[in-house]
Structure formats: C-alpha cells, structure tokens
C-alpha cells in the first residue's frame, strides 16, 4: 500500500515517556535509582559560579599596575563584603586618600600586576533541577542528574513561550472552536492550566497573567499579540526562557484556528487532574515542541501505547493541512500518487489527495500536511 513519511505532533491518551533531567554543569544528584518522584521534587543540584566584576585598582589609585600589590588590603582568595575596602593608598596628607571598596559580596579572584585590574567573584548561586514530571528514576547520570520514566497523557503543541510549570487542568471553554476571552478566565484559575479553544486574544493572556494562571493551552494566537506581549518580534523559534508570568502553548498555529477536536477532548478527559507543561520550543535540527504531560491513564483508557506512531501516512489516515490556501483544514488521505505533480505555484512536488468532510477531494503537497496521531 502507498505510504509517505510525514511529521506529526504527538497527541496520545497514554504513553510511556522518559525525561532527562540534567544539570548544565556537574553537581550533586539527589534522587536515587528506582526512586519515585513528584513533579516538584528536586532531583539534582549544583552551584553556578558567581558573576565576575572587575575593578581597575591601578587607575583608581593612579599608580602603575605593578605597584598595586602594595596597596591591596585583600589578597587572592580572600572573602570580601560589599562596601569593604579592598585597596587604599597611603598619602602624606589624609585628604588625598583614595579608598577602593568592593562593589559586591564575594571573593578576590585575581590581582593583576600587568593590567592593574582586580577581579572579584560573587558567591556561587544554587541551581536546582526539579523532577518536572511525576514518575520513577530509571537512570542516574553521575554528577549531572537523572532520567525519569512516567506513564501518562502526552500532548505536543506546535509553539509555546514560557518555561516549565505545573497545575491542575481546567477547561475554560465548552468547545474547540470557541475563543478564550478574558471573561472565561476566573479567579479560581490561579495556579492552573487553562484550556481554551480557537484563539486567545492579548486581553485574555493579560488577564491570565493578572490572575496568576500558570499556563494557557489554546488553538491559535495572533503574531501581533505575541509581539505586544513580549515587546519584541520572535525571530527564531527558540523559546522557553520568557518571564511573562504565564506559559502559553499553541496547539495549531498562528491565527484563529480551532483546536483539533481530538486534542480538545483528550484534554477535557483529564480535566481537574495535575499536569506538567512546558512552553519551550526549538525549531532547529533536534526539534523541541511544547508539551503537556498528565501522569496516569484517562478514565476510558486501560492500556498504554508503547510505540511512538508509525511515522508515515496511508490512505484513510486523518490529517491536517498546515499551509494556505487550506490552512487548518482537516481531512482524510484518499490517495498518494507517486509521481511529481505541478502545483498552483508551478513547482513540481509530491502531493496527496485529501478528502474533506463534505466529500470534496483536494490536492495538497505532502510537505503541507501533518498527520493527526491517535
């Protein structure tokens, strides 16, 4: 049977997934092998070296660099407090005395007789890594962290902003083609993951931030609103570090696009349950999409799917069109003609025939569809 390889976002009622939780630099692993962890548990921790500040002692004391040693009150390795004197001159007349104070709390990193600079380092900062998902430690990477295995509902979005967060899922609208309005967001949504339908406006996102909502999951947003929210245009899709006060996950794309019904229903089936979500998106080699993970089975599911989907499409598969002129339209694969076909733009491309709900059949480049996984 004809089939074609195609990308698709995972929308799975239940699957087994593994999350690597590693420190950027070596540190201490806290969790043990086989240990059961909750999303907010700290699994590893390290110290980030403090920031380095320079003080040009030679300039400030008006001496040559090789002379600064004799004016230093602190030596390399000494601890210093902010405002504490680290060097001073000894003039004949007291009025001409110059005192150099440390601009930070920390230690003296180096004293250079070549440049006359003194480098001071702030104390290290603690960097903990949380488990992020509820599960079991299945691998320990000494010095760096752990791998956690978790079984649960797994939904990928297409784009997100904001980092990892947790909270209870709450459905704020009744259907996937309903807009998420500011009025849909209530005081009781504080600390929760709010699911909308077609589109979240700037006002709705601002309202969510105001009320302390942890995350919004919605079909689409307008790019213009995103720009207003962030204060800049996102040039390259590398996100996750934004500090907006809310994580936003878009499941379909930019514009007002109803959330795929299957995704919406799946989220609704986990209403009221605790989820881990991340807006981090990286669209480069080694792609990373935003995600929603809800540990455990939905009520109607009894078995977890172990495979990751077959990775190709065949006639009969449900797909979504992801480019104009049919952006957002959902249909079924009717045929996969093997030969190159001239499309409207006059390019020659591999295409597929898609049957729409009303029975109409249209031809679309294979590059412009996404498989809807079930």
């Amino acid at each position: 049977m004809a089939h074609a390889y195609t990308p698709g976002l995972k929308v799975m009622p239940c699957t087994m997934l593994r999350k690597k939780r590693l420190l950027p630099i070596p540190g201490k692993v806290i969790s043990l092998m086989e240990q059961k962890v909750e999303a907010l548990d700290i699994v590893a921790q390290t110290e980030l070296p403090g920031k380095v500040f320079s003080v040009n002692v030679a300039n400030r004391l008006a001496v040559s660099p090789e002379e600064i040693e004799e004016f230093m009150l602190k030596r390399e390795g000494d601890a210093v407090k902010k405002g504490e004197t680290i060097a001073e001159n000894k003039p004949m007349i007291k009025w001409f005395k110059t005192v150099i104070e440390s601009p930070v709390d920390g230690t003296v990193e180096s004293v250079s007789a070549l440049t006359g600079q003194v480098l001071l380092r702030e104390p290290p900062r603690q960097l903990p890594i949380k488990a992020y998902v509820k599960g079991k430690v299945v691998e320990v990477t000494p010095g760096f962290g752990v791998t956690i295995e978790s079984e649960g509902t797994f939904i990928q979005g297409i784009f997100g902003i904001g980092g990892e967060t947790n909270g209870e899922i709450v459905m704020a609208v009744a259907s996937p083609d309903e807009d998420l309005t500011p009025e849909n967001i209530k005081d009781t949504h504080k600390g929760k993951i709010v699911v909308g339908g077609k589109h979240a406006s700037l006002a709705a996102i601002k309202r969510a931030i105001e009320l302390g909502v942890n995350a919004i999951v919605v079909g689409g947003i307008h790019d213009r609103d995103l720009r207003q929210l962030l204060g800049y245009d996102i040039g390259v899709a590398v996100t996750g570090t934004e500090q907006l006060g809310v994580t936003v996950i878009v499941t379909e794309g930019f514009g007002a696009i109803p959330m795929a019904e299957y995704t919406f229903k799946l989220l609704a089936s986990r209403n009221g349950e605790k989820a881990s979500v991340s807006g981090a998106t990286q669209i480069r080699a080694g792609v990373m999409r935003p995600e929603i993970i809800v540990p455990g089975f939905p009520k109607n599911v009894t078995e977890c799917k172990k495979d990751q989907g077959r990775g190709w499409i065949e006639p009969g598969d449900p797909i979504r069109i992801i480019r104009e002129p049919h952006f957002g339209v959902i249909g079924t694969v009717k045929a996969l003609p093997p030969e190159l076909t001239v499309i409207g733009s006059e390019s020659r491309a591999r295409v597929l025939e898609v049957e729409l709900a009303g029975g109409e059949v249209i031809v679309v480049p294979r590059a412009n569809i996404e498989v809807l996984e079930k």
Binding site: G235, F254, P325
Partner: protein, 597 residues
C-alpha cells in the same frame, strides 16, 4: 597521487540534514559530474556516526551509476574499470558547523580582523568581544561562559605595541573558564594571534586552563592584516579537536584522500578559484533555511560573512523582524493584511518544511527572500572593508574628497558575476524569478552576469580544488553553474519614459540584436548564447561602467533567462505610493514573465 591519475572522484558534503554525494568522471580531457545521491545525515541519535549517511549517499551513487565504489564500509581505490574511485573528498557542516567566538582589543580594528579571519575559515562567529564593545566586564565574562564555542580566537594589539588590553581579555577568558561545545572533558582550544610581545603573559594566564595555540599576529601593524596563519590554525584545530569529538568523524577522516573542510570554507575556495581564473569580481550567496552565507572576491580580496539568522524557514520571522513588514510588503503586487502576513510567516517558522502551494504564497516567499538577500549583503558590505584605523596620506587634490579608512570593498558597478544557491534561488519554478530576486536585492550596476548553483555543488568542488583545480573548475563551468544570463542596468536617475540606453548585442554566430531602454522599464530578451559582445550607449547622466554618458563595450553571456535590461535606475527605489507601486510591480513582473497570469 599525481593529478594525472585522477579519473574518478567521489565527493560528499555532510550537511546538517542531508549528506550529498557526487561522482565526477574524466571524459576525454574534461571532468564532468555524472551521478549524484543523497541520504539523511547521521550525526545525531540514534546513529551518531556521520559515515553511515556518507555510505548511504555513496550507495545511491553506486546504484545509479552501476559503478562499485564501496567494499563494505571502505572506498575502493584506485579506480579500475567499473570499480572504485581514485580519490574521495568531503566537506562538513553537520552538527551546526564550526562555531567560534573571537576577541580583539579594539572592536573596529583587531576585533574586525579576527572576525574576518574566523569567517574566512568557514566558522560561525557567535560573538565578537572587544575591550571597547560597550559591555561591562562582568557581562563579557558572563557571555564567554554562556556560549560554548568549538574554539576561540584571541587577538589584540599590533606587534610590539601595548599589551594591556589583550592581557586583560585573556584574564577575562580565564575567569570565565569556558568549556567547549563538544567533549566536556576537553580543554577549549584558544588560538592566540595577537601582539607578539604578549606571548609569555598569555601562556602564563591561559596555558593551564585552555588548549592554547600561539600563532602569528593577524594584525601585525595597523595597515596590514595577516589572516592566513591564524586561518590555517583554525583548520588544523577543526580537524584535530572539533572533528575528533563529532560522532563518526575520526572514521570519516581516515576515509578521505584530502583534509575535510568546513562547507563554507570549501565554497569560499571555489569562489576564489573561479574569480582568479577569470579575473572577475564575484559575489556568491547561499541562502538556506536558517542562515545566509555571502562570499565575495573584489580586486582579488576574498571575504565571507554569514548572517546567522537570515533564512527562509527557521529564520523567516527574523527576516521580517529585521527588514520590517513594510520592506517585505513593497515587493508584493497585491494587498495583504499585516496580521495575515505576520501569521503566515510565523506559521512557516513553526512548520519550516512546508512549501508554497499558491502563486500568492510563492510571491510572499520571494518578497522575504529579496529582503534576506539584501540584509545579508548589507552585513557583508559592512565587513568586507579596507582596514580601519589606518592613517591615510592625503594630497591637496584629496582634500575635497574626504574618504575615511575602512571603505567597503564591494562596488556593484565593478561586480562581474553573481552566483546564487540555496533552495529559493536554485529551485524557483521559473528561473526569471531567481534572477529578479538577485537583481532586486543586490541592485547591480552596469553589466553583471548571473548564475545559480542548482544542486549546491560548490562545497564538493571547493574541497576537490585542493587536489585538482582543473577537475574542480571543469565541473564548475560545465555542470555546477546554471547560467541565467546578464543584467544590464544603467546607473543614474531620470524621468519615466526617458531614453536612457541604446544597446547592441552581437553573438559569435553573427546574430545582431539592438534596441533602446527607457527609464522605469524592464526589458527581457531571451538569449542563450554562452558568449556575446555588448555595445552600450547610455544617455547623458547614465553610466554603464565607463562613466556617465560614455559608450561601453563588454563581453556578456546568455543563459536560461537571457538579457535583463533594467531601466529602473540606480539607486532603485520602489514608489511608496500604493497604486503606483502596484502598477510598477505588475508591469515589471509581466515584462519578465515572472508569474502565471
């Protein structure tokens, strides 16, 4: 092996996503590219061995050509009948290419020289640190620590000059204790190419913490740049350290018959060889999904820049951010809502592999491409400059012509040849679209020949040129370049409809073509003759290369598009008045037969 024995050559380019193999065979006295194959690159999990993708792509060449090249995982050498190849060469940009950070004492002087040095070696420059770059010291240190380059190039000071700034930079580097991107247990390679008086101090500061390599100063005097020694060191370290850490590369290095080159370095080599062989000023561009590389050779001086976030898919939204929506909209011959355009471009960014299905969508991508090409060219012009900080002797006659040091080397009137590559230029449904995108973005003046590298063969040929320049150039002329034609663009401004040029073209077979060009018009003349002689008689105030109003003769070439007589004037400005703009675009696109009606 002597070059005489080179008859069969297999070459690969290991890109981030695809590994492309080509077979080159000597037919009589000429080398021709005969078969090609491609396979997904296998640097990342689950394979983590680049040679798998290489072998797969070569296997495809074997299947298509009927030649047996592989014996298991070994390339059979030398060639014997229908078996084996005489040499195998490869380039690589897999795993993100060569990522470097450079530092210099003064940003516009040694900082810029260091940047040129690293870019010319094929690197992506992640940041340029300088004593006067406007950042606080702790910010510089933080930045060094955050970025994890493959290697660092430290320069600063002229030979025998003051050492303070460069020593200070070394101390910051030590304080940051940077780690290389690959192989956490290795020390970061640092190339020192600064003031030779500071060698001892640099060794003392960085000798323990980093893998320090000291080479000649890249700016020994203010008026002299000496980039080659440091560039060679970058290539050595690329092979010895960086490649050794990348999955499968130690094996690949044993397979090749000449050193592996970073892909952009190979493209640069090919551009230089082509320019030198023809005594041309050349501009070559490779516009990809994430980045745009620009190479130029002007008056024999080679320059390369890479615009890391100007591209047609991953970075398409950044083109919009940098160019501004108005600049993209100005190329569209129809109205589109700002919100709609914004959403469309963002949707391409998040689904980068989609393709335009409608003419309207194609035109939007072409509009973005013009801006990406223009911005990358602007960045290139800013870096491809004469040395800054050089004292210039002026005579009385120069007093009224005050030019500062550091003028751009790029002069579009003197540009002889433009080569475009990358999906949007190489695979446009109509070649006129590729040619017009380049004309609109670069606004060439006078006589400029244009071509596209349709299957991006320049990397393979650049690395091959190390072994056989003849083989590389033969294939370059015969199989790599798809000649588009020549653009004739008088420099000057006039009134709509004003006669600005009379022209005559004689082809070698005695055919004669002649005509006029009026201001505001574009004339498209199909002509595929590879060579022809042009006589251009510009009107008063218009320049074709011999000065305003002066007749000009030149060799030109035809191609799949032919001659494009661009009467829109230079500098060329699109009308800001919407009705006029739409009318002009419609007229020009129709004259060129750009899009289906």
């Amino acid at each position: 092996m002597s070059n005489k024995n080179l008859e069969i050559i297999i070459a690969t380019d290991c890109g981030s996503t695809t590994t492309k193999a080509i077979l080159i065979e000597k037919k009589g006295d000429i080398y021709r590219q005969t078969f090609r194959g491609e396979a997904p690159t296998t640097v990342e999990a689950p394979f983590e061995d680049v040679t798998k993708g290489v072998l797969n792509s070569i296997t495809e060449v074997e299947e298509l050509s009927g030649r047996r090249i592989l014996d298991g995982e070994r390339i059979i050498t030398p060639n014997n009948g229908n078996t084996g190849a005489d040499i195998y060469v490869s380039t690589s940009s897999a795993g993100g290419g060569l990522q470097m950070m450079v530092a210099g004492a003064v940003k516009a002087m040694t900082g810029e020289s260091a940047q040129r040095c690293a870019l010319g070696a094929g690197a992506i420059v992640m940041d340029v640190l300088a004593s006067n770059d406007g950042r606080a010291d702790h910010e510089k240190i933080e930045r060094i620590r955050q970025l994890r380059p493959d290697m660092m190039l430290l320069s600063g000071g002229t030979d025998g000059g003051t050492i303070t700034h460069v020593v200070e930079l070394a101390q910051f580097l030590k304080a940051a204790d940077p780690k290389p991107r690959l192989g956490a247990s290795y020390k970061l390679p640092v190339i020192y190419a600064g003031n030779n008086k500071a060698h001892a101090q640099i060794k003392e500061i960085l000798g323990d913490r980093t893998a320090l390599i000291i080479t000649e100063n890249l700016r020994p005097a203010l008026e002299r740049e000496n980039l080659m020694p440091a560039r060679h060191k970058i290539h050595d370290i690329f092979l010895e350290h960086v490649m050794q850490q990348a999955p499968g590369y130690p094996r690949l290095m044993k397979m090749v018959g000449a050193p592996i080159m970073p892909t952009p370095a190979a493209v640069g080599t090919m551009t230089e060889k082509f320019a030198k062989a023809n005594n041309f000023n050349v501009l070559a561009v490779d516009i990809g999904g994430a980045t745009t590389d620009v190479f130029s050779v002007f008056s024999g001086v080679f320059n390369r820049t890479v615009s890391a976030n100007l591209g047609m898919s991953y970075s398409i939204s950044n083109v919009m951010a940098e160019a501004g929506l108005a600049n993209i909209l100005r190329w569209l011959p129809f109205d589109v809502e700002e919100q709609d355009l914004r959403n469309r471009l963002k949707n391409k960014m998040i689904r980068p592999t989609t393709i335009p299905q409608t003419v309207e969508d194609l035109q939007i991508e072409h509009a973005v491409a013009r801006e990406a090409l223009r911005l990358a060219f602007d960045q290139h012009k800013a870096l491809a400059v004469g040395l800054k900080g050089v004292q210039q002797e002026r005579s009385i006659s120069d007093a009224f012509d005050q030019t500062s040091s550091g003028q751009s080397l790029i002069n579009v009137m003197k540009l002889d040849y433009v080569i475009g590559s990358g999906g949007i230029l190489a695979h446009s449904p109509r070649r006129t679209q590729s040619m017009m995108m380049m004309i609109d973005a670069y606004q060439p003046e006078g006589v400029t020949r244009m071509a596209v590298d349709s299957i991006f063969m320049m990397p393979h040929l650049g690395v091959l040129a190390q072994v056989s320049e003849k083989a590389a150039l033969d294939v370059f002329y015969n199989d790599c370049l798809v000649r588009l034609g020549t653009c004739l663009a008088p420099k000057g401004l006039g009134k709509d409809g004003q006669l600005i040029l009379e022209w005559e073209v004689k082809t070698p077979d005695g055919k004669k073509l002649a005509g006029e060009l009026r201001f505001g018009d574009i004339v498209h003349l199909p002509m595929d003759a590879p060579k022809a002689r042009l006589t251009a008689r510009p009107s008063k105030g218009f320049d074709m290369g011999a000065g305003p109003g002066n007749s000009f003769e030149a060799d030109i070439e035809g191609g799949v598009v032919g001659l494009v007589l661009d009467g829109r004037g230079r500098p060329f400005n699109i009308s800001k008045e919407p009705v006029r703009r739409l009318g002009d675009l419609g007229k020009w696109y129709k004259a060129m037969g750009m899009y289906p009606v």
